[in-house]
Symmetry: C2
Subunit: 326 residues, 2 copies
Protein backbone atom coordinates (compact mmCIF):
# COMPACT_ATOMS: atom_id res chain seq x y z
CA UNK A 1 0.00 0.00 0.00
CA UNK A 2 2.78 2.40 0.85
CA UNK A 3 4.41 2.15 -2.60
CA UNK A 4 1.17 2.76 -4.42
CA UNK A 5 0.20 6.27 -5.59
CA UNK A 6 -3.36 6.81 -4.41
CA UNK A 7 -5.82 9.43 -5.55
CA UNK A 8 -8.26 10.34 -2.82
CA UNK A 9 -11.81 11.57 -3.51
CA UNK A 10 -13.98 13.14 -0.81
CA UNK A 11 -17.68 14.00 -1.10
CA UNK A 12 -19.14 16.25 1.59
CA UNK A 13 -22.89 15.98 0.89
CA UNK A 14 -25.56 17.69 2.93
CA UNK A 15 -26.52 14.53 4.79
CA UNK A 16 -23.79 12.05 4.03
CA UNK A 17 -20.05 11.78 3.65
CA UNK A 18 -18.26 9.56 1.16
CA UNK A 19 -14.64 8.87 0.35
CA UNK A 20 -13.00 6.77 -2.35
CA UNK A 21 -9.49 5.89 -3.41
CA UNK A 22 -8.10 4.66 -6.66
CA UNK A 23 -4.59 3.98 -7.87
CA UNK A 24 -3.40 6.95 -9.91
CA UNK A 25 -2.48 4.91 -12.96
CA UNK A 26 -6.04 3.59 -13.35
CA UNK A 27 -7.35 6.97 -14.47
CA UNK A 28 -8.77 7.75 -16.94
CA UNK A 29 -10.64 4.46 -17.14
CA UNK A 30 -14.03 2.96 -17.65
CA UNK A 31 -16.08 3.21 -14.51
CA UNK A 32 -15.47 0.12 -12.47
CA UNK A 33 -15.71 -0.67 -8.81
CA UNK A 34 -14.61 2.16 -6.58
CA UNK A 35 -13.23 1.51 -3.13
CA UNK A 36 -15.75 3.62 -1.25
CA UNK A 37 -16.63 4.27 2.36
CA UNK A 38 -19.76 6.17 3.33
CA UNK A 39 -21.14 7.53 6.57
CA UNK A 40 -24.17 9.69 7.43
CA UNK A 41 -23.42 13.21 8.60
CA UNK A 42 -25.23 12.43 11.84
CA UNK A 43 -28.25 13.96 13.47
CA UNK A 44 -26.74 17.33 14.38
CA UNK A 45 -23.94 17.71 11.89
CA UNK A 46 -21.37 20.49 12.14
CA UNK A 47 -18.15 21.31 10.41
CA UNK A 48 -16.24 19.57 13.22
CA UNK A 49 -18.25 16.35 13.09
CA UNK A 50 -18.07 16.30 9.26
CA UNK A 51 -14.32 16.81 9.41
CA UNK A 52 -13.56 14.07 11.92
CA UNK A 53 -15.94 11.59 10.36
CA UNK A 54 -14.38 12.19 6.96
CA UNK A 55 -10.88 11.65 8.31
CA UNK A 56 -12.11 8.38 9.80
CA UNK A 57 -13.30 7.29 6.36
CA UNK A 58 -9.93 8.22 4.90
CA UNK A 59 -8.05 6.18 7.51
CA UNK A 60 -10.32 3.21 6.84
CA UNK A 61 -9.44 3.42 3.15
CA UNK A 62 -5.77 4.36 3.22
CA UNK A 63 -4.62 3.12 6.65
CA UNK A 64 -1.34 4.92 7.18
CA UNK A 65 -0.60 5.56 3.48
CA UNK A 66 -0.57 9.13 2.22
CA UNK A 67 -2.60 10.06 -0.85
CA UNK A 68 -0.71 11.64 -3.72
CA UNK A 69 -3.53 14.11 -4.42
CA UNK A 70 -7.02 14.92 -3.15
CA UNK A 71 -10.15 16.00 -4.98
CA UNK A 72 -13.17 17.23 -3.08
CA UNK A 73 -16.85 17.63 -3.93
CA UNK A 74 -18.73 19.93 -1.57
CA UNK A 75 -22.51 20.31 -1.41
CA UNK A 76 -22.69 24.08 -1.42
CA UNK A 77 -21.05 27.18 -2.85
CA UNK A 78 -17.28 27.01 -3.13
CA UNK A 79 -14.60 29.44 -4.22
CA UNK A 80 -12.80 26.86 -6.29
CA UNK A 81 -9.81 29.02 -7.19
CA UNK A 82 -9.09 29.66 -3.50
CA UNK A 83 -10.04 26.14 -2.34
CA UNK A 84 -12.48 27.68 0.16
CA UNK A 85 -15.99 26.61 1.08
CA UNK A 86 -18.33 29.62 1.17
CA UNK A 87 -21.03 27.98 3.30
CA UNK A 88 -23.28 24.96 3.67
CA UNK A 89 -27.06 25.32 3.56
CA UNK A 90 -27.35 22.12 5.60
CA UNK A 91 -24.46 21.90 8.06
CA UNK A 92 -23.39 24.57 10.55
CA UNK A 93 -19.87 25.88 10.84
CA UNK A 94 -18.81 25.62 7.21
CA UNK A 95 -18.68 29.37 6.62
CA UNK A 96 -15.50 30.42 4.83
CA UNK A 97 -13.51 27.24 5.54
CA UNK A 98 -10.14 26.98 3.72
CA UNK A 99 -10.83 23.31 3.02
CA UNK A 100 -8.08 22.66 0.48
CA UNK A 101 -5.51 24.13 2.82
CA UNK A 102 -6.76 22.18 5.84
CA UNK A 103 -6.73 18.91 3.92
CA UNK A 104 -3.26 19.60 2.61
CA UNK A 105 -2.00 20.24 6.15
CA UNK A 106 -3.69 17.11 7.48
CA UNK A 107 -2.98 14.64 4.69
CA UNK A 108 0.22 16.08 3.19
CA UNK A 109 -1.05 16.15 -0.39
CA UNK A 110 -2.32 18.86 -2.75
CA UNK A 111 -6.11 19.28 -2.82
CA UNK A 112 -8.69 20.82 -5.16
CA UNK A 113 -12.18 21.65 -3.93
CA UNK A 114 -15.24 22.36 -6.04
CA UNK A 115 -19.00 22.35 -5.70
CA UNK A 116 -20.93 19.13 -6.19
CA UNK A 117 -22.67 20.03 -9.45
CA UNK A 118 -19.37 21.02 -11.05
CA UNK A 119 -17.60 17.94 -9.75
CA UNK A 120 -20.42 15.63 -10.85
CA UNK A 121 -20.27 17.28 -14.29
CA UNK A 122 -16.57 16.52 -14.45
CA UNK A 123 -17.17 12.94 -13.29
CA UNK A 124 -19.78 12.32 -15.98
CA UNK A 125 -17.51 13.94 -18.56
CA UNK A 126 -14.51 11.87 -17.49
CA UNK A 127 -15.97 8.38 -17.13
CA UNK A 128 -19.77 8.67 -17.46
CA UNK A 129 -22.42 9.82 -19.92
CA UNK A 130 -20.33 12.73 -21.14
CA UNK A 131 -17.27 10.83 -22.30
CA UNK A 132 -15.75 12.10 -25.50
CA UNK A 133 -17.65 15.42 -25.53
CA UNK A 134 -15.92 18.73 -25.91
CA UNK A 135 -18.74 20.48 -24.08
CA UNK A 136 -21.23 19.28 -21.53
CA UNK A 137 -23.98 20.69 -19.35
CA UNK A 138 -24.73 18.49 -16.35
CA UNK A 139 -28.00 19.13 -14.57
CA UNK A 140 -29.22 17.46 -11.42
CA UNK A 141 -32.94 17.51 -10.65
CA UNK A 142 -33.75 16.29 -7.17
CA UNK A 143 -34.58 18.39 -4.10
CA UNK A 144 -33.25 21.35 -6.10
CA UNK A 145 -32.14 21.90 -9.69
CA UNK A 146 -28.47 22.68 -10.19
CA UNK A 147 -26.02 22.57 -13.03
CA UNK A 148 -22.38 22.47 -13.97
CA UNK A 149 -20.48 23.08 -17.19
CA UNK A 150 -17.50 21.27 -18.65
CA UNK A 151 -16.21 23.33 -21.59
CA UNK A 152 -13.16 22.27 -23.52
CA UNK A 153 -12.49 19.53 -20.95
CA UNK A 154 -12.48 21.85 -17.93
CA UNK A 155 -15.05 22.94 -15.38
CA UNK A 156 -16.33 26.42 -16.25
CA UNK A 157 -16.66 28.30 -12.95
CA UNK A 158 -17.48 31.83 -14.00
CA UNK A 159 -16.25 35.04 -12.47
CA UNK A 160 -17.58 34.31 -8.96
CA UNK A 161 -17.49 30.49 -9.05
CA UNK A 162 -21.28 30.59 -9.49
CA UNK A 163 -21.87 29.47 -13.08
CA UNK A 164 -24.52 26.84 -13.73
CA UNK A 165 -27.55 28.34 -11.97
CA UNK A 166 -30.05 26.77 -14.35
CA UNK A 167 -32.45 26.22 -11.46
CA UNK A 168 -33.09 29.92 -11.18
CA UNK A 169 -33.91 30.69 -14.79
CA UNK A 170 -37.46 32.06 -14.91
CA UNK A 171 -39.54 30.07 -17.40
CA UNK A 172 -43.04 31.04 -16.18
CA UNK A 173 -43.06 34.69 -15.14
CA UNK A 174 -46.44 34.16 -13.40
CA UNK A 175 -45.49 30.74 -11.99
CA UNK A 176 -45.24 29.58 -8.38
CA UNK A 177 -42.86 31.32 -5.94
CA UNK A 178 -39.32 29.98 -5.68
CA UNK A 179 -37.09 29.69 -2.63
CA UNK A 180 -34.87 32.36 -4.24
CA UNK A 181 -37.64 34.98 -3.99
CA UNK A 182 -38.56 35.05 -7.68
CA UNK A 183 -41.50 33.32 -9.38
CA UNK A 184 -41.60 30.55 -11.96
CA UNK A 185 -37.97 29.47 -11.80
CA UNK A 186 -37.08 26.06 -13.23
CA UNK A 187 -36.46 24.81 -9.70
CA UNK A 188 -39.83 26.04 -8.42
CA UNK A 189 -41.50 23.95 -11.12
CA UNK A 190 -39.22 20.97 -11.71
CA UNK A 191 -37.61 20.01 -8.39
CA UNK A 192 -39.06 16.95 -6.68
CA UNK A 193 -40.51 18.53 -3.51
CA UNK A 194 -42.04 21.39 -5.50
CA UNK A 195 -43.60 19.01 -8.00
CA UNK A 196 -45.05 17.00 -5.08
CA UNK A 197 -46.38 20.14 -3.42
CA UNK A 198 -48.23 21.15 -6.55
CA UNK A 199 -49.78 17.69 -6.73
CA UNK A 200 -50.96 18.00 -3.13
CA UNK A 201 -52.45 21.41 -3.84
CA UNK A 202 -54.20 20.12 -6.94
CA UNK A 203 -55.68 17.18 -5.02
CA UNK A 204 -56.92 19.51 -2.32
CA UNK A 205 -58.47 21.82 -4.91
CA UNK A 206 -60.47 19.13 -6.69
CA UNK A 207 -61.70 16.18 -4.66
CA UNK A 208 -62.60 14.11 -7.69
CA UNK A 209 -59.26 14.39 -9.49
CA UNK A 210 -56.23 12.17 -9.12
CA UNK A 211 -57.89 8.84 -8.27
CA UNK A 212 -54.81 6.70 -8.87
CA UNK A 213 -52.55 9.13 -7.07
CA UNK A 214 -54.86 9.12 -4.03
CA UNK A 215 -54.79 5.34 -3.98
CA UNK A 216 -51.01 5.22 -4.06
CA UNK A 217 -50.84 7.74 -1.24
CA UNK A 218 -52.98 5.48 1.00
CA UNK A 219 -54.91 8.51 2.19
CA UNK A 220 -51.81 10.36 3.40
CA UNK A 221 -52.19 13.15 0.90
CA UNK A 222 -49.94 15.55 2.75
CA UNK A 223 -47.09 13.04 2.48
CA UNK A 224 -47.22 12.62 -1.30
CA UNK A 225 -43.78 12.48 -2.91
CA UNK A 226 -42.55 13.24 -6.40
CA UNK A 227 -41.93 9.52 -6.82
CA UNK A 228 -45.59 8.75 -6.13
CA UNK A 229 -46.66 11.46 -8.57
CA UNK A 230 -44.47 9.88 -11.24
CA UNK A 231 -45.79 6.38 -10.50
CA UNK A 232 -49.38 7.54 -10.66
CA UNK A 233 -48.71 9.48 -13.86
CA UNK A 234 -47.17 6.45 -15.50
CA UNK A 235 -50.23 4.39 -14.45
CA UNK A 236 -52.49 6.84 -16.27
CA UNK A 237 -53.50 9.31 -13.57
CA UNK A 238 -54.43 12.44 -15.46
CA UNK A 239 -53.79 14.99 -12.73
CA UNK A 240 -50.44 13.44 -11.83
CA UNK A 241 -49.54 13.32 -15.49
CA UNK A 242 -50.29 17.00 -16.00
CA UNK A 243 -48.15 17.98 -13.05
CA UNK A 244 -45.29 15.66 -13.93
CA UNK A 245 -45.19 16.78 -17.55
CA UNK A 246 -45.52 20.43 -16.56
CA UNK A 247 -42.44 19.97 -14.41
CA UNK A 248 -40.64 18.23 -17.25
CA UNK A 249 -41.51 21.01 -19.67
CA UNK A 250 -40.19 23.64 -17.28
CA UNK A 251 -36.89 21.80 -17.03
CA UNK A 252 -36.80 21.33 -20.80
CA UNK A 253 -37.39 25.05 -21.32
CA UNK A 254 -34.47 25.83 -19.05
CA UNK A 255 -32.31 23.36 -20.93
CA UNK A 256 -33.38 24.82 -24.26
CA UNK A 257 -32.31 28.27 -23.14
CA UNK A 258 -28.95 26.95 -21.96
CA UNK A 259 -28.48 25.11 -25.24
CA UNK A 260 -29.25 28.22 -27.29
CA UNK A 261 -26.78 30.22 -25.28
CA UNK A 262 -23.85 27.79 -25.18
CA UNK A 263 -24.53 25.16 -27.83
CA UNK A 264 -23.11 22.24 -25.79
CA UNK A 265 -22.64 18.88 -27.46
CA UNK A 266 -24.41 16.97 -24.72
CA UNK A 267 -26.69 17.59 -21.75
CA UNK A 268 -26.47 14.97 -19.00
CA UNK A 269 -29.38 14.78 -16.54
CA UNK A 270 -29.02 13.20 -13.11
CA UNK A 271 -30.88 13.25 -9.81
CA UNK A 272 -33.91 11.41 -8.47
CA UNK A 273 -36.46 13.21 -10.64
CA UNK A 274 -34.89 11.74 -13.78
CA UNK A 275 -36.24 8.32 -12.69
CA UNK A 276 -39.76 9.57 -13.47
CA UNK A 277 -40.11 7.50 -16.62
CA UNK A 278 -40.08 7.84 -20.39
CA UNK A 279 -42.96 10.35 -20.73
CA UNK A 280 -41.04 12.72 -18.44
CA UNK A 281 -37.94 12.35 -20.61
CA UNK A 282 -39.92 12.87 -23.78
CA UNK A 283 -41.47 16.05 -22.41
CA UNK A 284 -38.06 17.36 -21.34
CA UNK A 285 -36.59 16.68 -24.77
CA UNK A 286 -39.58 18.11 -26.65
CA UNK A 287 -39.60 21.31 -24.62
CA UNK A 288 -35.85 21.76 -25.05
CA UNK A 289 -36.07 21.09 -28.76
CA UNK A 290 -38.91 23.58 -29.18
CA UNK A 291 -36.62 26.34 -27.90
CA UNK A 292 -33.40 25.51 -29.69
CA UNK A 293 -32.19 26.26 -33.17
CA UNK A 294 -32.92 23.25 -35.39
CA UNK A 295 -29.27 23.16 -36.51
CA UNK A 296 -28.03 22.43 -33.00
CA UNK A 297 -27.08 18.80 -32.64
CA UNK A 298 -27.33 18.42 -28.87
CA UNK A 299 -28.14 15.12 -27.17
CA UNK A 300 -29.99 15.03 -23.82
CA UNK A 301 -29.06 11.83 -22.01
CA UNK A 302 -29.32 10.26 -18.54
CA UNK A 303 -26.38 10.44 -16.18
CA UNK A 304 -24.44 7.20 -15.94
CA UNK A 305 -22.75 7.38 -12.56
CA UNK A 306 -25.65 8.01 -10.18
CA UNK A 307 -24.63 9.08 -6.68
CA UNK A 308 -21.00 8.28 -7.45
CA UNK A 309 -20.63 11.08 -10.02
CA UNK A 310 -19.09 13.49 -7.47
CA UNK A 311 -16.57 10.86 -6.36
CA UNK A 312 -15.54 10.15 -9.93
CA UNK A 313 -15.25 13.85 -10.59
CA UNK A 314 -13.22 14.33 -7.42
CA UNK A 315 -10.87 11.60 -8.60
CA UNK A 316 -10.45 13.49 -11.86
CA UNK A 317 -9.70 16.67 -9.90
CA UNK A 318 -7.11 14.78 -7.86
CA UNK A 319 -5.59 13.31 -11.01
CA UNK A 320 -5.23 16.79 -12.48
CA UNK A 321 -2.92 17.88 -9.63
CA UNK A 322 -1.19 14.61 -8.76
CA UNK A 323 2.58 14.99 -8.90
CA UNK A 324 4.34 12.88 -11.50
CA UNK A 325 5.82 9.65 -10.14
CA UNK A 326 9.49 9.87 -9.19
CA UNK B 1 5.36 48.62 -47.22
CA UNK B 2 6.77 45.35 -48.44
CA UNK B 3 8.99 44.84 -45.40
CA UNK B 4 6.16 45.47 -42.99
CA UNK B 5 4.15 42.57 -41.53
CA UNK B 6 0.49 43.49 -42.03
CA UNK B 7 -2.54 42.01 -40.35
CA UNK B 8 -5.60 42.22 -42.56
CA UNK B 9 -9.14 42.45 -41.19
CA UNK B 10 -12.21 41.95 -43.38
CA UNK B 11 -15.82 42.57 -42.39
CA UNK B 12 -18.51 41.18 -44.68
CA UNK B 13 -21.66 42.85 -43.32
CA UNK B 14 -25.11 42.38 -44.76
CA UNK B 15 -25.12 45.74 -46.51
CA UNK B 16 -21.53 46.93 -46.38
CA UNK B 17 -17.98 45.72 -46.71
CA UNK B 18 -15.04 46.99 -44.68
CA UNK B 19 -11.36 46.17 -44.57
CA UNK B 20 -8.57 47.37 -42.30
CA UNK B 21 -4.86 46.77 -41.94
CA UNK B 22 -2.55 47.23 -39.03
CA UNK B 23 1.12 46.46 -38.51
CA UNK B 24 1.40 43.19 -36.60
CA UNK B 25 3.59 44.59 -33.84
CA UNK B 26 0.95 47.18 -32.86
CA UNK B 27 -1.34 44.54 -31.39
CA UNK B 28 -2.49 44.28 -28.66
CA UNK B 29 -2.87 48.01 -28.28
CA UNK B 30 -5.25 50.70 -27.21
CA UNK B 31 -7.77 51.40 -29.91
CA UNK B 32 -6.38 54.07 -32.14
CA UNK B 33 -6.93 55.02 -35.72
CA UNK B 34 -7.44 52.08 -38.01
CA UNK B 35 -6.57 52.27 -41.68
CA UNK B 36 -10.03 51.37 -42.97
CA UNK B 37 -11.73 51.24 -46.35
CA UNK B 38 -15.48 50.76 -46.66
CA UNK B 39 -17.87 50.14 -49.52
CA UNK B 40 -21.58 49.37 -49.73
CA UNK B 41 -22.50 45.88 -50.88
CA UNK B 42 -24.42 47.42 -53.74
CA UNK B 43 -28.07 47.25 -54.73
CA UNK B 44 -28.17 43.60 -55.78
CA UNK B 45 -25.32 42.07 -53.84
CA UNK B 46 -24.13 38.53 -54.45
CA UNK B 47 -21.20 36.46 -53.33
CA UNK B 48 -19.35 37.42 -56.50
CA UNK B 49 -19.88 41.16 -56.11
CA UNK B 50 -18.99 41.00 -52.40
CA UNK B 51 -15.84 39.06 -53.22
CA UNK B 52 -14.55 41.40 -55.92
CA UNK B 53 -15.44 44.54 -54.05
CA UNK B 54 -13.64 43.27 -50.96
CA UNK B 55 -10.52 42.45 -52.98
CA UNK B 56 -10.64 45.99 -54.33
CA UNK B 57 -10.65 47.34 -50.76
CA UNK B 58 -7.70 45.11 -49.91
CA UNK B 59 -5.70 46.35 -52.91
CA UNK B 60 -6.46 49.93 -51.95
CA UNK B 61 -5.06 49.25 -48.47
CA UNK B 62 -2.13 46.96 -49.18
CA UNK B 63 -1.26 47.77 -52.80
CA UNK B 64 0.91 44.87 -53.85
CA UNK B 65 2.02 43.86 -50.34
CA UNK B 66 0.88 40.52 -48.96
CA UNK B 67 -0.74 40.35 -45.53
CA UNK B 68 0.87 38.04 -43.02
CA UNK B 69 -2.49 36.84 -41.71
CA UNK B 70 -6.18 37.51 -42.30
CA UNK B 71 -9.09 37.66 -39.86
CA UNK B 72 -12.65 37.78 -41.14
CA UNK B 73 -15.96 38.81 -39.63
CA UNK B 74 -18.99 37.51 -41.50
CA UNK B 75 -22.57 38.62 -40.94
CA UNK B 76 -24.21 35.21 -40.77
CA UNK B 77 -23.66 31.68 -39.54
CA UNK B 78 -20.13 30.36 -39.98
CA UNK B 79 -18.46 27.05 -39.31
CA UNK B 80 -15.44 28.64 -37.71
CA UNK B 81 -13.43 25.46 -37.29
CA UNK B 82 -13.71 24.73 -41.02
CA UNK B 83 -13.42 28.37 -42.11
CA UNK B 84 -16.66 28.01 -44.06
CA UNK B 85 -19.59 30.38 -44.35
CA UNK B 86 -22.90 28.52 -43.91
CA UNK B 87 -25.09 31.16 -45.57
CA UNK B 88 -26.01 34.83 -45.63
CA UNK B 89 -29.55 35.96 -44.83
CA UNK B 90 -28.95 39.09 -46.88
CA UNK B 91 -26.71 38.27 -49.83
CA UNK B 92 -27.24 35.50 -52.37
CA UNK B 93 -24.61 32.93 -53.25
CA UNK B 94 -22.89 32.63 -49.89
CA UNK B 95 -24.11 29.11 -49.21
CA UNK B 96 -21.32 26.83 -47.99
CA UNK B 97 -18.42 29.02 -49.17
CA UNK B 98 -14.94 27.89 -48.02
CA UNK B 99 -14.02 31.50 -47.35
CA UNK B 100 -10.81 30.94 -45.37
CA UNK B 101 -9.49 28.66 -48.10
CA UNK B 102 -10.43 31.07 -50.90
CA UNK B 103 -8.77 34.00 -49.15
CA UNK B 104 -5.67 31.96 -48.46
CA UNK B 105 -5.43 31.00 -52.14
CA UNK B 106 -5.99 34.60 -53.27
CA UNK B 107 -3.87 36.48 -50.75
CA UNK B 108 -1.29 33.85 -49.80
CA UNK B 109 -1.78 34.16 -46.05
CA UNK B 110 -3.54 32.07 -43.40
CA UNK B 111 -7.11 33.15 -42.60
CA UNK B 112 -9.61 32.66 -39.78
CA UNK B 113 -13.31 33.29 -40.33
CA UNK B 114 -15.96 33.75 -37.67
CA UNK B 115 -19.40 35.24 -37.31
CA UNK B 116 -19.81 38.92 -36.61
CA UNK B 117 -21.13 38.65 -33.04
CA UNK B 118 -18.25 36.40 -32.04
CA UNK B 119 -15.68 38.60 -33.76
CA UNK B 120 -17.13 41.77 -32.25
CA UNK B 121 -17.03 40.08 -28.83
CA UNK B 122 -13.35 39.33 -29.38
CA UNK B 123 -12.71 42.90 -30.53
CA UNK B 124 -14.36 44.40 -27.44
CA UNK B 125 -12.46 41.93 -25.27
CA UNK B 126 -9.16 42.70 -26.95
CA UNK B 127 -9.18 46.50 -27.16
CA UNK B 128 -12.65 47.70 -26.12
CA UNK B 129 -15.05 47.58 -23.19
CA UNK B 130 -14.07 44.03 -22.27
CA UNK B 131 -10.36 44.57 -21.75
CA UNK B 132 -8.90 42.67 -18.84
CA UNK B 133 -11.90 40.35 -18.34
CA UNK B 134 -11.55 36.62 -18.14
CA UNK B 135 -15.12 36.18 -19.38
CA UNK B 136 -17.35 38.33 -21.48
CA UNK B 137 -20.78 38.20 -23.07
CA UNK B 138 -21.14 40.61 -25.97
CA UNK B 139 -24.67 41.37 -27.11
CA UNK B 140 -25.68 43.48 -30.05
CA UNK B 141 -29.20 44.91 -30.14
CA UNK B 142 -30.08 46.48 -33.47
CA UNK B 143 -32.19 44.98 -36.26
CA UNK B 144 -31.81 41.67 -34.42
CA UNK B 145 -30.36 40.60 -31.09
CA UNK B 146 -27.25 38.43 -31.20
CA UNK B 147 -24.48 37.48 -28.86
CA UNK B 148 -20.98 36.12 -28.59
CA UNK B 149 -18.92 34.71 -25.74
CA UNK B 150 -15.27 35.17 -24.91
CA UNK B 151 -14.37 32.68 -22.18
CA UNK B 152 -10.85 32.37 -20.87
CA UNK B 153 -9.65 34.72 -23.61
CA UNK B 154 -11.09 32.71 -26.49
CA UNK B 155 -14.28 32.80 -28.49
CA UNK B 156 -16.63 30.06 -27.28
CA UNK B 157 -18.25 28.57 -30.39
CA UNK B 158 -20.17 25.60 -29.08
CA UNK B 159 -20.58 22.22 -30.70
CA UNK B 160 -22.11 23.53 -33.93
CA UNK B 161 -20.55 27.02 -34.00
CA UNK B 162 -23.94 28.39 -32.89
CA UNK B 163 -23.39 29.52 -29.29
CA UNK B 164 -24.66 32.94 -28.27
CA UNK B 165 -28.29 32.81 -29.41
CA UNK B 166 -29.51 35.13 -26.69
CA UNK B 167 -31.98 36.69 -29.11
CA UNK B 168 -34.06 33.52 -29.13
CA UNK B 169 -34.45 33.00 -25.41
CA UNK B 170 -38.17 33.12 -24.62
CA UNK B 171 -38.83 35.66 -21.89
CA UNK B 172 -42.59 36.19 -22.42
CA UNK B 173 -44.21 32.87 -23.31
CA UNK B 174 -47.37 34.73 -24.44
CA UNK B 175 -45.43 37.57 -26.12
CA UNK B 176 -45.40 38.65 -29.76
CA UNK B 177 -44.37 36.22 -32.50
CA UNK B 178 -40.68 36.09 -33.44
CA UNK B 179 -39.10 35.59 -36.85
CA UNK B 180 -37.85 32.22 -35.57
CA UNK B 181 -41.39 30.88 -35.21
CA UNK B 182 -41.61 31.04 -31.42
CA UNK B 183 -43.28 33.72 -29.30
CA UNK B 184 -41.85 36.23 -26.83
CA UNK B 185 -38.17 35.81 -27.68
CA UNK B 186 -35.80 38.57 -26.57
CA UNK B 187 -35.38 39.60 -30.20
CA UNK B 188 -39.14 39.82 -30.80
CA UNK B 189 -39.35 42.30 -27.93
CA UNK B 190 -36.03 44.14 -27.86
CA UNK B 191 -34.80 44.50 -31.45
CA UNK B 192 -35.23 47.95 -33.00
CA UNK B 193 -37.71 47.18 -35.79
CA UNK B 194 -39.86 45.07 -33.46
CA UNK B 195 -39.91 47.77 -30.83
CA UNK B 196 -40.92 50.28 -33.51
CA UNK B 197 -43.65 47.96 -34.79
CA UNK B 198 -45.17 47.65 -31.35
CA UNK B 199 -45.19 51.43 -31.02
CA UNK B 200 -47.02 51.72 -34.36
CA UNK B 201 -49.57 49.14 -33.26
CA UNK B 202 -50.10 50.91 -29.94
CA UNK B 203 -50.63 54.25 -31.70
CA UNK B 204 -53.14 52.67 -34.05
CA UNK B 205 -54.99 51.07 -31.13
CA UNK B 206 -55.42 54.28 -29.13
CA UNK B 207 -55.73 57.53 -31.03
CA UNK B 208 -55.23 59.67 -27.94
CA UNK B 209 -51.98 58.05 -26.77
CA UNK B 210 -48.46 58.94 -27.75
CA UNK B 211 -48.81 62.65 -28.42
CA UNK B 212 -45.09 63.41 -28.46
CA UNK B 213 -44.31 60.36 -30.53
CA UNK B 214 -46.93 61.38 -33.10
CA UNK B 215 -45.41 64.84 -33.32
CA UNK B 216 -41.94 63.49 -33.90
CA UNK B 217 -43.25 61.19 -36.62
CA UNK B 218 -44.70 64.17 -38.51
CA UNK B 219 -47.82 62.19 -39.24
CA UNK B 220 -45.96 59.32 -40.89
CA UNK B 221 -46.97 56.82 -38.27
CA UNK B 222 -46.18 53.79 -40.41
CA UNK B 223 -42.59 54.97 -40.74
CA UNK B 224 -41.87 55.29 -37.01
CA UNK B 225 -38.43 54.03 -36.04
CA UNK B 226 -36.98 52.73 -32.79
CA UNK B 227 -34.90 55.89 -32.63
CA UNK B 228 -38.03 58.04 -32.70
CA UNK B 229 -39.63 55.90 -30.00
CA UNK B 230 -36.55 56.39 -27.82
CA UNK B 231 -36.52 60.15 -28.45
CA UNK B 232 -40.20 60.48 -27.61
CA UNK B 233 -39.77 58.33 -24.50
CA UNK B 234 -36.91 60.46 -23.28
CA UNK B 235 -39.06 63.58 -23.85
CA UNK B 236 -41.73 62.15 -21.58
CA UNK B 237 -44.08 60.35 -23.96
CA UNK B 238 -45.81 57.75 -21.82
CA UNK B 239 -46.69 55.27 -24.53
CA UNK B 240 -43.23 55.43 -26.06
CA UNK B 241 -41.71 55.04 -22.60
CA UNK B 242 -43.74 51.93 -21.85
CA UNK B 243 -42.71 50.30 -25.09
CA UNK B 244 -39.07 51.29 -24.82
CA UNK B 245 -38.75 50.10 -21.23
CA UNK B 246 -40.64 46.90 -22.00
CA UNK B 247 -38.07 46.21 -24.69
CA UNK B 248 -35.25 47.02 -22.27
CA UNK B 249 -36.70 44.69 -19.63
CA UNK B 250 -36.94 41.84 -22.12
CA UNK B 251 -33.29 42.28 -23.02
CA UNK B 252 -32.35 42.52 -19.35
CA UNK B 253 -34.24 39.31 -18.59
CA UNK B 254 -32.31 37.52 -21.30
CA UNK B 255 -29.06 38.92 -19.95
CA UNK B 256 -29.99 37.86 -16.42
CA UNK B 257 -30.55 34.31 -17.59
CA UNK B 258 -27.23 34.27 -19.40
CA UNK B 259 -25.50 35.65 -16.33
CA UNK B 260 -27.03 33.01 -14.05
CA UNK B 261 -25.93 30.29 -16.39
CA UNK B 262 -22.36 31.40 -17.10
CA UNK B 263 -21.49 34.00 -14.47
CA UNK B 264 -19.44 36.19 -16.85
CA UNK B 265 -17.40 39.06 -15.42
CA UNK B 266 -18.77 41.58 -17.86
CA UNK B 267 -21.59 42.02 -20.35
CA UNK B 268 -20.88 44.44 -23.19
CA UNK B 269 -23.87 45.83 -25.10
CA UNK B 270 -23.55 47.26 -28.58
CA UNK B 271 -25.83 48.06 -31.50
CA UNK B 272 -28.09 50.99 -32.34
CA UNK B 273 -30.73 50.25 -29.69
CA UNK B 274 -28.17 50.88 -26.93
CA UNK B 275 -28.26 54.57 -27.90
CA UNK B 276 -31.79 54.78 -26.47
CA UNK B 277 -30.72 56.71 -23.38
CA UNK B 278 -30.18 56.26 -19.66
CA UNK B 279 -33.69 55.05 -18.73
CA UNK B 280 -33.27 52.19 -21.22
CA UNK B 281 -29.92 51.25 -19.65
CA UNK B 282 -31.37 51.43 -16.16
CA UNK B 283 -34.25 49.16 -17.13
CA UNK B 284 -31.86 46.66 -18.74
CA UNK B 285 -29.66 46.58 -15.64
CA UNK B 286 -32.59 46.36 -13.21
CA UNK B 287 -34.20 43.50 -15.09
CA UNK B 288 -30.91 41.60 -15.31
CA UNK B 289 -30.17 42.16 -11.65
CA UNK B 290 -33.63 40.95 -10.65
CA UNK B 291 -32.86 37.57 -12.21
CA UNK B 292 -29.32 37.01 -11.05
CA UNK B 293 -27.87 35.73 -7.81
CA UNK B 294 -26.97 38.72 -5.61
CA UNK B 295 -23.43 37.34 -5.16
CA UNK B 296 -22.69 37.66 -8.87
CA UNK B 297 -20.47 40.65 -9.53
CA UNK B 298 -21.23 41.23 -13.19
CA UNK B 299 -20.99 44.65 -14.85
CA UNK B 300 -23.22 45.58 -17.81
CA UNK B 301 -21.45 48.23 -19.88
CA UNK B 302 -21.71 49.90 -23.30
CA UNK B 303 -19.55 48.68 -26.13
CA UNK B 304 -16.57 50.92 -26.85
CA UNK B 305 -15.73 50.21 -30.46
CA UNK B 306 -19.02 50.85 -32.26
CA UNK B 307 -19.16 49.59 -35.82
CA UNK B 308 -15.44 48.90 -35.77
CA UNK B 309 -15.71 46.08 -33.19
CA UNK B 310 -15.74 43.36 -35.89
CA UNK B 311 -12.64 44.85 -37.56
CA UNK B 312 -10.77 44.96 -34.25
CA UNK B 313 -11.83 41.40 -33.51
CA UNK B 314 -10.77 40.31 -36.99
CA UNK B 315 -7.35 41.87 -36.37
CA UNK B 316 -7.13 39.83 -33.15
CA UNK B 317 -8.03 36.70 -35.10
CA UNK B 318 -5.35 37.49 -37.64
CA UNK B 319 -2.83 38.15 -34.89
CA UNK B 320 -3.57 34.73 -33.38
CA UNK B 321 -2.45 32.95 -36.55
CA UNK B 322 0.22 35.32 -37.84
CA UNK B 323 3.50 33.49 -38.39
CA UNK B 324 6.38 34.65 -36.23
CA UNK B 325 8.74 37.10 -37.95
CA UNK B 326 11.77 35.52 -39.57
Amino acid sequence: MADQRWLLALDFGGSKLSAAVRPAEQLPAMPGPLQVRRMPSGSRPSFDSDWWRMLELVRALLHEAAPSAIGVSFGGPVNAAAGRVVLSQHVAGWEDVPLAQRLQAELHAPALVDNDANVAALGEWHVGAGRGCDSLLYVTASTGVGGGWVLGGRIWHGADSLAGEIGHIIVQPDGPPCSCGKRGCVEALAAGPNLARRAREALAADERAGKILRERAHGELDQITAEQVAEAANLGDELAGQILLGAARALGQGLGIAINLMNPRRVVLGGGVTKAGEPWWQAVRDAARHQTLPQMSVEIVPAALGDDAPLWGALALAESIAPDPL
